[in-house]
Amino acid sequence: MTDKKKVLIIDDDPAICESVKAILDGSGFDASCALSGKEGLEAFRQTDPDIVLCDMMMEDVDAGGQVTKIMKTERPATPVFLLSTIGDTTAATVGLGEYGFSGVFQKPVNFDLLLAVLGRYAK
């Protein structure tokens, strides 16, 4: 049995998924990838991750938001963080709080910060 925290990465860019997974795996997490909102929701239900990192624009411009709404309805306690290229101003105006995101990390991601935040949730 592993006591590593499971992190689900949902992003339609396989290159981003693989690089984020490499960083998280190398930092003591057990990361997995899903390449669309639909695939992400299936993985969320099957693997019951401790933390989710989700892109916004995938098969639809707000696919990440829609998927997050469902995930937060099914498991409200699971933190879901947005990884996105939308700017801070946009993030403030498109109602990210309505989707239930626990926080936003702008791409390019500051991984020192992200790992510190995930570390707090992993305790």
Binding site: D12, D13, P14, A15, I16, E18, S19, V20, A22, I23, G26, S27, S36, M57, M58, E59, D60, V61, T85, G87, T90, K107, P108, V109, F111
Partner: protein, 167 residues
């Protein structure tokens, strides 16, 4: 004077021939925010964006197009004889492990850490240029393109830190 990236994009028939043509320039091409916008305009002439029912393949191709140019500019910060190794790593995170092992054996961690810092500074300067692009799908493709290069650079730094800690 080198042709602009937009001219190269319009001239080349596919992503691979564009990559080869840009790589052959060795970073010797204009790459201001205006050049990025011009390249983006050429890209969207060929692959119009749809906000709804996005075509993931075309979005990823846009990121890849931006990355080719960003990588070649950033590699100017690296010693010429190591550029091919960095080009491979920045193009595929799976290449980091074997490539870093080979570079470490040849150069040692201190030299590579200095090179990492130079590459990070080059990418940061390019991100500043990208930030000058007005909010648009062109900007989104460049931000999406450069984002993964920062990620891979972080993976490289993790490997180097580990190498420094090993006896």
């Amino acid at each position: 004077m080198s042709p602009s990236l937009a001219e190269i994009f319009r001239r080349e028939k596919d992503a691979e021939s564009f990559r080869l043509a840009v790589t052959a320039l060795g970073g010797d091409f204009p790459f201001s925010s205006a050049d990025m916008i011009e390249l983006g305009a050429a890209y969207f002439e060929r692959f119009p964006d749809r906000a709804r029912e996005r075509n993931a393949e075309e979005v990823l191709r846009g990121y890849a197009t931006a990355r080719v140019a960003i990588i070649e500019k950033a590699l100017l910060a690296v010693d010429a004889f190591r550029r091919e190794a960095y080009r491979a790593m920045l193009s595929d995170v799976a290449r980091v492990g074997p490539s870093i092992e080979a570079l470490l054996a040849a150069s040692g961690p201190d030299a590579l850490l200095a090179e990492h810092d130079a590459l990070l500074a080059a990418l940061t300067a390019l991100k500043t240029t990208i930030d000058e692009i007005p909010k648009s799908m062109i900007k989104e493709r460049f931000v999406g393109g450069i984002a993964n290069l920062f990620n891979i650079l972080y993976v490289i730094k993790m490997r180097l830190r580990r190498a420094l800690q090993e006896p």
